[in-house]
Symmetry: C2
DNA sequence: CTGTATCCCTATGGATACTG
DNA sequence: CAGTATCCATAGGGATACAG
């Protein structure tokens, strides 16, 4: 028995999974929920610059993929909590690494970009 | 001295880095180059379903970010090789983990999606 | 072989306002 | 508080054909 799924196969469903992981805001939501559940407004404040529309769409998609749970605690005003499922927490491991890589290598990337645009000038 | 860069800060340049990492085809190119340099056509064959246009744009962007090198070996027909730089190889670590997560959890995600769409039916 | 050049299209996301 | 509802703009990417 070899590998069941392979990213490099054109029609492999792992591609749709990868596409969801790579979606603009998924990595933000996953990292934001690292330390426990959050409410809609908390997430919005934590992930700055995200619009309610984008946040809603990201949350719905992640919920459909079983990455997070939505708990409506009722009351008025409403109280809804979002939390990572076990599956979502397992995704936290690689995505935290991605986040850390991005934060760690900002200077390298910026330097490379600057040099690339400088070379364009000639 | 605290963390220099933080994904969650609205204007942090790490966001542009993350955006590049999350770009549609970056993860494919990085993983494809894991075991050494490849030529344009090799990459295109390896990453199935990618158009030459998308591949070119991805390669140029990664090159500008210092993630890969492009070596023109001349000749006719032309011979160009793409390889990960040291920086690109460091990105390989987290992105290989992402790839493996995606391939490993296809059944979980597909099951969750099926259940979600089944619930919608009511 | 290694790309460019077009054309087109739709999905993503921003801005804004509003509702239960 | 937790979203919906619109409208809109743009960039990314697909299809196809062609060039050095």
């Amino acid at each position: 028995m070899g590998k069941a799924y392979n990213i490099m196969a054109a029609t492999c469903p792992s591609r749709t999974v990868l596409h969801r992981i790579g979606a603009r805001w998924t990595v933000f939501v996953v990292n934001a929920l690292e330390h426990g559940p959050m409410r809609f407004t908390e997430l919005k404040a934590h992930i700055r610059e995200i619009t309610p529309k984008a946040l809603t769409e990201t949350l719905r998609a992640m919920q459909a993929d079983g990455l997070l749970s939505r708990t409506d605690l009722g009351g008025n005003p409403p109280h809804v909590e979002y939390a990572l499922t076990d599956l979502g927490r397992s995704l936290l491991v690689p995505l935290r690494a991605v986040r850390q890589w991005a934060e760690a290598h900002v200077p390298d990337i910026l330097a490379a970009r600057e040099q690339a645009s400088a070379e364009d000038a000639y």
